[in-house]
Amino acid sequence: METMIKLKILADAAKYDVSCSSSGSSRANTPDGIGNAHLAGICHSWADDGRCISLLKILFTNECIYNCAYCVNKITSDVPRATFTPEEVAMLTISFYRRNYIEGLFLSSAVYKSPDYTMELMIGAVKLLRETHRFNGYIHMKGIPGANASLIKLAGLYVDRMSINIELPSNNSLQLLAPQKKKEHIVGSMGFLQSSITEAKENRKHFKKAPAFVPAGQTTQLIVGATPEPDLNILTLSENLYKRFEMKRVYYSGYIPAVEHPNLPSIFTTPPRLREHRLYQADWLLRFYHFRSSELLDDKNPNFDVNLDPKCDWALRHLESFPVEVNTAEYETLLRVPGIGVTSAKKILSARKVQSLTYEHLKKMRVVLKRAQYFITCKGKYYGKVDLNESLIRECITYENMCSSGHLATGEQLSIYTCMRQTPQNIS
């Protein structure tokens, strides 16, 4: 089969994988090699769905022995199948890289014959890239759950990042939709990866020449909206993954119905984009804003209000901590003000060292005050359009959100039009 046709099939089969980042590694080029990794990552293009393209994201093969209900590549699916050779993967990566189309390779795969066999094929391709082509660009490789630990160990020596997908938010759902994937295998492989990463880091502290092992760490992804778990379960799961396995990222993939199955939402369901967006925002709050999942959601409110961002929702339920004085509040306190992010908080901290700040100053400094106005004072004065009252502020902010024609906070593949059409997707 022609490489072009394979590329079409195997890129198409890989597109539901959400991860695209090329960050976290600062691998240097070698004297006779090609490529290096950029610590912050680089996006090279943006596809028609608005998602960034950083890596050549392909499956090694889409021939699968599994039959996971939600997957387009399951054994019973009637889709064209293809399998790359390691040489083809290397050739594509290098030629794209030399033209600056990509930052590196994201190699995933369906499970062909067995987890071990699949891993060996993938390792063959990355080994060829690293050793024969002396490629030093970014490589992200999927770990196949249930593959032998020695294979994961070997792969880790060649790649920058590795990810093992947790797929679904609970063991029940996993048994229901992907009975051949075992929770013990997934968690076991994650644990093994994590301990190997820690060990390699420790070794590199003592021996400069000790080999790097998955220097950009591990990530995972799970599907949101295919099964009935509320946001609370998902966020708690993520929090545990961050703590227990030192995950760099947990990716959420709003379920896009592609196959008909009695255990899945109907094929006519709209993908839960806004819910996915709120989860990402909450995930950010866990990682960069020092929030705990139990602060954001509880059994009484197990799902996010889709009309408000999670931080605003939290602040409105904790008005007793507000307003805060921008001239004296600590960094951590500023971070908890809706509308003030890491950049604004740092700006405020820096600017107030040379001058005490007024509301006008904040405007000039381009601190976004649309939401923040209700939660701060400047030199003791309160500037909110309405008094510090939960329902009044909630109404104001929701109303403004609906009116504004701009984008939501981080613009995660969303525009306001999609939010307005969308209804929250909570299957119970």
């Binding site: 090699g33 293009s45 596809a47 950083s54 994201k57 820096s350 001058q355 525009s415």
Partner: protein, 247 residues
Amino acid sequence: MVNYIYDSSFEGLLTAIYESYYSDKPPEHILPDRYVQQQLLCENIQIVTCEQKADKVYHAILKKISSYALRHTYYAFLSEKQDISTTLYHYLRLGFKVGKDIDRYLIDENVRCVHDISRKVGFERHRMLGLLRFRQVGTDNYYASFEPDYNITALIAPHFTKRLSDQNWIIHDMKRNIGAIYKKDTKAWIISDMMAYQPIHDISHEKMFQEMWKTYFNSIAIEAKQNAKLQRQFMPQRYWKHLIEKQ
């Protein structure tokens, strides 16, 4: 009113700043010569670029203000905005007064303006690290054309020197007709005038790789999530001319 006119080079700007401290006629505006218009009631003083004077200012910024301020100055200068030289003049004067705290004066008009423009230049630099597209024009020779808003060729060249060190390449800024030319044998790049550049034809299999890239680009998008507006927001249309996947 006095205007200082310099030769549009960074050294020229620094020389003008040097002169402003030793002249009894401080400038109302500092202008690169490409923007000069003769105005009534205005005296234009031509600044003669002097490497030693520029060097003194350069090191004074590093020592008395900060390396951040120097970087902001250089990046903002590369924006080539009409009034940026005058803004930089005020920025640096304040800098020499308050020292390394300069970048905390976010409420000062000039500081904010320099930060904004320097950020925009830095942003375009980062964007181009991804959006630049090379085509193969010989066994080891690659060529990329682009039309950046700001004069960032010299800012992106070091990145490709590290990354694509085993191929010869040219990065051609078509808007300014300058280019960075890298030779793998010497592992060095220079900025060169590209007025006389004769385009070289792609090698025969170049088209095939471009088609493969387009195939990949189209296959990786999820149809159910089409979002052209978001795509244009990240990848503005003015850059498409040089993007293979958008042709």
